[in-house]
Amino acid sequence: MFFDNKEEYDTTGVVFNIEQYHVNDGSGIRTNVFLKGCNLWCQWCCNPESQSLQLQVAVHRNLCVKCGTCRSGVCPRDAITADDDGFPSIDGSKCVACGACVASCLQDAMELYGKTMNVNEAIEEVVKDAKFFAMSGGGLTIGGGEPCVQAGYAAALAKAARRRHINVAVETAGAVPFERLWSVAEHADQILFDVKYTDPEKFRTISDAPLDQVKGNLRGLASKGKDITMRCPIVPGLNDDDGHIGRLIEWARELGIENIDVLPFHQLGKYKYDSLGMDYTLSGLKDLDKSIANGIRDVMVEKGLNATVGG
């Protein structure tokens, strides 16, 4: 059959979520495929399960009733013990994320983050909404994590979508060499380019890559004529200063990018840090006030940009 393509079956990657009906991540109605693995370590990250490339088992303590089912011989590698509070504790060195404990939990308190899928399996999920993409000018959005961490997979997924006449958006932070970025982005119709910091010193706190590389990549994509939207998480106290906002506007104008989305910081991902046993340093921080976000947007609009809050 026309769509049968060896590459689709041979290329596998780790996906942590596929969500239908996203309307703020590119044009129209979209299905988002979130790839695991990120090369940044932003402390405000609301999807901490996206950071590691490995499959992970999470324990949702709010649901766990400490019944002990998961510790009673369910785990083939004997990786689960009770912690001091009686909650299951998973020994990462033994766990192979087989999911046996997740299936055994009557409370749905355990969750497996990540699934290894070949491109065909993923695209089969995406095409389910093809009719709605067509009706709305939507399509597939490949996000992460950082899709360029699994660049080969992301590119194959984008190609598979295009083979089916599905519009492709890629959301990236762009902190990779241009060749690697382009290997994915060349198959994308829209680029959602995350700009976290515009100050090189600050940027160094979340990435090994120099900020110049990020800006260069943004320029590179712009010069290739890609349809780009700058996506700017705004975190109180970290990057909500006028200097940063001013530089975002400068960048956009300098590179001829018209669309810019202000993404206000929120605490919705907080519980996932607990579930994964990860440290979260911003738990005391308040959500970005809506009026502040609107104010930033208004400044951007004044400067001639097509700015939104939330995309």
């Binding site: 009906y21 309307v23 109605i29």
Partner: protein, 820 residues
């Protein structure tokens, strides 16, 4: 044309306000409570006392004549249209020939006094109470449709319907039929005069020596009486309007009244010549049909199509302008809202919100496949948007050629008022009609009747509203080996129950055994009701308004109509599918709990805390199990589709009482037009394996169960599109609740239209929406006085939220809200 269209689209702008006249007329509705009116019962009974011994149909014709000749007439200040159903706005006529037992009980406070009901209360004066109890009820007691049904109903059917209640048939046992679109077009084009001429010719041509023809004489004579009665009715308005005009000092109003008098003198007797006359003509057909038949869902058909030639002619000649056309249409909308129907308490729960289901259809395609949307389609949207009333139920037909502009304006109406219009897909409905014998010409001209029932114009003799076959109940019975836990009765015994079934197939067989049994009795009950209607309450005037009755010389129930089907209103199909799919997954496939554990949990309504896992833990496992329709999951969706296909195959094999007597069809057809019966019918269903607690509402229409569709609206639509919708010619009902914040931008509107179009291109059949936040609803329940005009989609119809029963309110609040 395009320039003119733009002029009409403007009426949808937020800047356009209703005229002061219309605002005043609208206020009457909100300042008037529904009440019981004795006009109809008085004149109807009076006539019946005088005609004892004559054939029933003739008696009914004479009784209708007496009602139309004597009932109180009123014309509201500023109104541009004449016609009333009762002596005051929102008055409900009484139809004693159908049933008086419940009226007597409720007048005595059992279960509630009519004016103290928790939902849909009606004012009733002491005088009215006494009059009904002393003079009316004794005359009719023992001689009603309900009495006849009781005497005809086989015992096993009675047990199935009234004890186990595996199918709920009561409402048609105490009410009339309705559910049709009378041939307004014919009266507009030919006048009553034309119909009368045809009837007279038929009478003149009858060979009375032929007994078959002799039989037709009584019917045709009855038709003549009712046709003349309707002309008399209109002339009484003309007289009244002339009097009002001569007493009127305001010259502008005087001129209006004079014009109205002129119109009522002319039509419906003569063909309409103007747009205004045509609109008035609709009412002089609709009102007598309602007064005669006691049915609801007397719908209006494709108003934007059949009024259009008159509209164009008047606009082109300058006799009419846009503003006047809009006002006249506003008056039609408001007139419909004045009508009211009193139902017994149980059926009030099923039909709560005082709906009359008077559907009015716009859009779709012309016979030649062109986009049928015209100026009147936009004006109709504007009427519903600006008036923000529940009636008429507005239907928008969509086909592959419907413009996005029209769809956008239509969804903006929903955004504004909360629930109307509903959308119907030509691309599925027309094939569904062709599949059961409709001609292409008649199918392509379909309009909605009642909630979601597709019908041709002036060609079908009603009977969409049969009973409510309760699929959730059957799933419960299948699990219990056929024994009803509530009554202890076993009507369709099974070899074993869930604890002995070896696999899912055995469970499914158990379910279809129950389906077969109750479907059979649904059909028997339906036919009994039809037989009784035919004997006790034949409708000569309605028959005259339905094609082929006159030429065939037959009343509808004798087989007079061109098309005739009986449509059951299947309720709880998705509850059944979810329950079966969940048992398959949790018990048979994943083996998370045993069948014994499940059965015990269901028997104890998940209340037993001493089991391991506990009842509530089992309930959570069942609730969270990924085995629910609405998530684009093939297993539950496939089971739902299987049930629907099975239903269609089996229901359509059954004949109705008109089979072989003339009409095309003559069979039963399935639908999921459940109205709000899912609350009433849920009361007798115990705990179900989808995690639902005993006695709580089951699913309505084909909609997903609340809070079980978790993957968003596109996945929901994908599930819906997988169902064999084309096999549901009686109509599908599919509710989606959307958060207001999701559609507060242009982008939100675009996505909404895309969602509807995408679903329709994938062969979904019908879609309707509620755009009210749960928070608003909770608030409205708490402070009803602040939310008197908050409209919600109850089921296939809309109602005022504050008028609904608390159970129904809670059910609507609970439906999953989708962020678009």
């Amino acid at each position: 044309m395009e320039r003119r269209m733009k002029e009409y689209i403007k009426y949808l702008d937020d800047s356009v306000e209703l005229t002061p006249r219309i605002k005043k007329l609208r206020d009457i509705f909100f300042s008037t409570s529904p009440s019981v009116c004795t006009d109809r019962v008085k004149y109807f009974t009076e006539s019946f006392r005088e005609t004892e011994g004559e054939p029933t149909i003739l008696r009914r014709a004479k009784a209708l004549d007496n009602v139309l000749s004597h009932m109180t007439l009123y014309v509201k200040e500023g109104d541009l249209l004449a016609g009333n159903l009762a002596s005051i706005p929102r008055g409900a006529p009484i139809f004693p020939e159908f049933s008086v037992d419940w009226i007597e009980k409720e007048l005595n406070g059992d279960p509630y006094f009519i004016d103290e009901r928790p939902g849909d209360a009606y004012d009733v004066t002491e005088e009215t109470k006494r009059y009904l109890i002393d003079e009316i009820i004794p005359y009719w007691r023992g001689h009603t449709h309900e009495d006849m049904v009781r005497s005809l109903l086989p015992e096993e059917t009675r047990l199935a319907c009234q004890e186990v209640k595996g199918t709920e048939e009561n409402w048609v046992m105490t009410s009339g039929d309705g559910h049709t679109i009378p041939n307004y077009i014919r009266v507009i084009r030919e006048g009553i005069k034309g119909v009368l001429e045809q009837t007279q010719n038929r009478l003149d041509g009858i060979d009375i020596t032929d007994p078959a023809q002799l039989e037709q004489v009584t019917f045709l004579k009855s038709v003549v009486i009712t046709l003349k009665a309707v002309v008399t009715f209109a002339n009484r308005y003309a007289d009244k309007l002339e009097d009002m005009a001569s007493a009127e000092h305001d010259t502008a109003r005087k001129a209006e009244l004079t014009e109205m008098a002129r119109i009522c003198r002319r039509i419906p007797e003569h063909p309409a010549e103007t747009f205004y006359e045509a609109v008035q003509s609709i009412l002089f057909v609709n009102i007598p049909v309602q007064l005669e038949s006691n049915g609801h869902s007397i719908s209006f058909g494709r108003v934007d199509q059949y009024l259009y030639p008159f509209f164009v002619r008047d606009i082109d000649s300058g006799a009419l302008d846009a503003g006047r056309a809009f006002e006249i249409m506003n008056c039609l909308w408001l007139k419909v809202t004045e009508f009211s129907k009193l139902r017994d308490w149980d059926n009030t729960v099923a039909f709560v919100g005082n709906p009359l289901f008077q559907n009015l259809t716009i859009g779709g395609q012309t016979l030649n496949g062109q986009d049928a949307v015209n100026e009147l389609s936009y004006l109709s949207l504007a009427c519903t948007k600006k008036l923000s009333m529940t009636q008429p139920s507005l239907t928008v037909r969509w086909y592959a050629g419907t413009s996005d502009r029209f769809m956008k304006e239509a969804v903006k109406v929903i955004r504004k008022i909360g629930s109307l219009p509903a959308f119907f897909n030509d691309e599925v409905i027309i094939p569904s009609m062709l599949n059961i014998g409709y001609s292409y010409e008649d199918a392509i001209n379909y309009a909605m009747v009642g909630c979601v029932e597709p019908a041709p114009h002036g060609q079908i003799g009603g009977r969409y509203g049969a009973g409510f076959p309760n699929f959730a109940k059957w799933a419960e019975l299948a699990v219990n080996g056929g024994k009803d836990p509530r009554t202890g009765l076993t009507l369709a015994p099974l070899d074993g129950d869930i604890t002995t079934f070896k696999d899912f197939d055995e469970l499914m067989n158990a379910f279809t055994t129950q389906l077969d049994f109750f479907l059979k009795h649904h059909v028997v009950a339906g036919n009994v009701v039809d037989m009784s209607w035919g004997v006790c309450t034949p409708n000569p005037f309605l028959s005259a308004m339905i094609d082929d009755c006159i030429s065939r010389g037959k009343e509808i129930k004798q087989g007079g109509a061109k098309y005739d089907f009986t449509g059951g209103q299947s309720v709880g199909i998705i509850s059944a599918a979810n329950s079966l799919a969940t048992i398959k997954k949790v018990v048979f496939d994943d083996k998370r709990i045993t069948a014994e554990q499940l059965k015990h949990a269901l028997d104890t309504d998940f209340e037993d805390r001493d089991t391991d896992p506990s009842g509530e833990e089992i309930r959570q496992i069942l609730l969270k199990s990924d085995s629910k329709f609405g998530n684009d999951n093939d297993e539950p969706d496939g089971i739902a589709a299987y049930i629907m296909k099975y239903l269609s195959d089996h229901e359509m094999r059954y004949k109705n009482t008109r089979y072989g007597k003339g009409p095309i069809g003559g069979t039963f057809i399935p639908s999921t037009a459940t109205v709000a019966s899912h609350v009433l019918t849920g009361q007798i269903v115990g705990a179900t394996a989808d995690g639902r607690k005993a006695g709580t509402p089951i699913t309505e229409g084909t909609s997903a169960f609340h809070d079980t569709e978790t993957k968003g609206p596109t996945a929901l639509m994908n599930s819906y599109a997988k169902l064999p919708n084309v096999l549901m010619p009686g109509g599908q009902l599919f509710n989606v609740k959307i958060a207001p914040s999701a559609v507060d931008s242009e982008q939100g509107i675009d996505n909404w239209v895309a969602l509807i179009k995408g679903a329709f291109e994938k062969r979904a059949m019908q879609l309707q929406f509620n755009i009210v936040s749960s928070r608003t609803l909770v608030e409205a329940k708490r402070k009803p006085k602040d939310y008197t005009d908050l409209i919600v989609r109850v089921a296939g119809y809309s109602g005022y939220f504050v008028d609904l029963c608390p159970d129904v309110q809670d059910d609507i609040i609970a439906r999953t809200e989708h962020a678009l």
